[in-house]
């Protein structure tokens, strides 16, 4: 059973397993444990980023191609759900229609970008996705009749997921369960399901071919695998998972705007998480997202404290200014690409294999 669930790709490190378990349990019980709205939104953001980053890892870590259009698909999912909910009124069917249309649009776009640019050289892909994504972002803010422009769209969820819905008269385990909590658990279940689906994909024969292409595309081609087809499929799959993640974000926030879904900053965040967590292992997405999102929300407060303490000294105070935290992340990113290309997860796994070698 566990073997099937994890597709025989276990964390393979005691510390890693413990960390993963801790994250999974904490996230599952978040509505009981953390009362504040901020803590809940951090937890939901971690969940959504796990899916977004894991889907990106399929592309970057497993297939070895860099895309800068991942947030475009993320945004398509979010906008799809939002626009459908506004046009057809709030209902489950509106969510379903919105998601279906968004998935269709994402597959169309990712297939055409993939077939078009991967046909020539893989390195074109990075540049072309960058161009397409920036054009899409501008388009989304220009078409204000449909997308609400820079202001974005606010919409309502189906009754079950709205904060005023309270199925139980009394509190359960000290928590009055409302629609927001239900919405959170819906996201949790979807993300867990999708995560195991991704794990299944990367450990299937198809996933092995992707890894072969990452290691040596010429050789994979020589072995008879059509690398263009595999790369395009990988791109398609990762786009679809990102679309679902976007839809989840929209359902959680009941809002969608260019800054929350399409902006280049999110793309950079995803890149940073993948690299710091560990490329080529989906568990890296879990660890990386949890660390990153928590740091993003709480480390910045800490930096603000430090900045206040250092207010007298001009350069130092600027260096720890919370707005400059990307500087530190950038440094961490460059250092981890150099020294820990397999990220946190890779480090933990390496420690284990070394220990095993010493025993034998």
């Amino acid at each position: 059973m566990m073997r099937r669930l994890f597709s025989e790709d276990f964390p393979e490190s005691r510390w890693l397993s413990a960390a993963l378990l801790l994250i999974a349990v904490l996230l599952a019980l978040a509505p009981f444990l953390f009362a504040g709205a901020k803590a809940m939104s951090v937890a939901a953001k971690i969940l959504i980023f796990i899916l977004l980053v894991a889907s990106y890892d399929l592309l970057l870590g497993y297939t070895g191609i860099v895309s800068f259009a991942h947030t475009m698909f993320f945004g398509i999912g979010a906008y799809g759900v939002a626009i459908a909910s506004i046009r057809f009124g709030e209902s489950w069917s509106a969510l379903a229609v919105g998601l279906a249309l968004a998935l269709a649009l994402s597959s169309l776009l990712s297939l055409s970008i993939g077939l078009f640019s991967l046909r020539v050289r893989a390195i074109f892909f990075a540049m072309i996705t960058l161009a397409v994504a920036s054009a899409f972002q501008t388009l989304a803010s220009q078409l204000s009749d449909i997308t609400g422009g820079e202001d974005g769209l606010t919409f309502k969820n189906p009754q079950w997921l709205s904060p005023s819905f309270e199925p139980f008269e009394t509190a359960v385990l000290g928590l009055l369960i409302d629609g927001k909590a239900l919405c959170y658990w819906l996201i949790y279940i979807v993300v867990a399901f999708m995560f195991f689906a991704l794990l299944r994909i990367v450990n299937s024969p198809f996933g092995r071919v992707l890894q072969a292409i990452r290691e040596n595309d010429f050789r994979a081609e020589a072995l008879g695998y059509r690398t263009v087809v595999y790369r395009t499929l990988s791109n398609l799959l990762s786009a679809l998972f990102a679309t679902v993640a976007g839809a989840l974000l929209a359902v959680w926030l009941r809002y969608v705007g260019p800054d929350t879904t399409l902006s280049f900053e999110i793309m950079l965040d995803v890149l940073l998480i993948v690299v710091i967590g560990g490329m080529g292992t989906l568990y890296g997405a879990v660890i990386g997202s949890a660390l990153f999102v928590v740091a993003q929300h709480y480390l910045q407060d800490l930096l603000a404290l430090a900045a206040r303490a250092l207010a007298g000294k001009p350069l130092l105070a600027d260096l720890v200014n919370p707005d400059r935290w990307l500087l530190w992340l950038g440094l961490l990113f460059v250092l981890s690409v150099y020294y820990f290309p397999s990220g946190i997860v890779g480090r933990l796994r390496d420690a284990r294999t070394k220990a095993n070698k010493r025993v034998t």
């Binding site: 540049m127 161009a131 690299v275």
Partner: protein
Amino acid sequence: MTVEVPIRSHDASTEAILPKAQFDLIPFILVLGLMGFAWLAIGSASSWLTLTVAGLTMGLIIFVIASGLTLVFGLMDVLNFGHGVFIALGAFVATSVMTYAGQAGMGGVVSLFIAMLIAMAAAAAVGWVFERLIIRPVYGLHLKQILITMGGMIIGEELIKLTWGPLQIALPLPEALRGSWLIAEAAIEKYRLLASIIGLLVFGALTLTLTRTKLGLLIRAGVQDRSMVEALGYRINRLFVAVFVAGSALAGLGGVLWGFYQQSVTAQIGTQVNVLIFIVIIIGGLGSTLGCFIGALLVGLMANYAGFLEPKIALFSNIAVMVAILLWRPQGLYPVSDR
């Protein structure tokens, strides 16, 4: 590209054997065709002339920025996503120099040229450090190059914000360059004319260096076949550092030109221009200088025509050009062979 070399006896001189390389004129005709088509679509001669001059100017500025990137890629197969940092650096250095010159009471066109020189020097110095720290350890690894140069871009952008502040800074033109001339009822801005002249000078200097000097010969040979040049005893790494530094300096110069063109500077300027220059070098063929030139002109013209005719589609005009050209020539207008 295969060239049939007729087999002759050994004593014939080599020049007689090799047929002259054929120059591909079609891309030039494409640019002229685009201008002609726009003439028909716009109808009014004066607005056509204004737009064309504006488009060519924009194209020439983009060329100055993109030429370094395409050479670096061609020579060393390094795709530098951090190129935008040098553009931003150049523009920000220009704002400082202009303020300083203004305080010293030294306005006018002279301060603009001083700003260009200082910006080029600053960008070159930073480029040298960037090559050492960021790029040297990841030669030959495309994936890591993209990631690491992207990381360099993040750090650079943050450092710029740290130095100059995160807000937009105005970069007004010197008094003498404001305004425009009316030539045949078309408004030609003075600054654009100056920028075009600088762009053409850069193109001329680059072409001359690449085709008429030994250094240029080595660079072109390196683009064609790196290992062969190495085997002949030239230190291609040093050559590469020189090209990288020169490319960064050009990006700094382009940043100044672009900053004055936009009349304001933000830290995101690099990211924005990055998209444009990627489109340009893909259109031109990665590694080709002439292709980069034509691509830049196409993109500049297209952006201006489309912005005038149908502002809504202006966003996609550049991507549309790229798609059309790649469908026609998948390796770009002037493909660099052996890649």
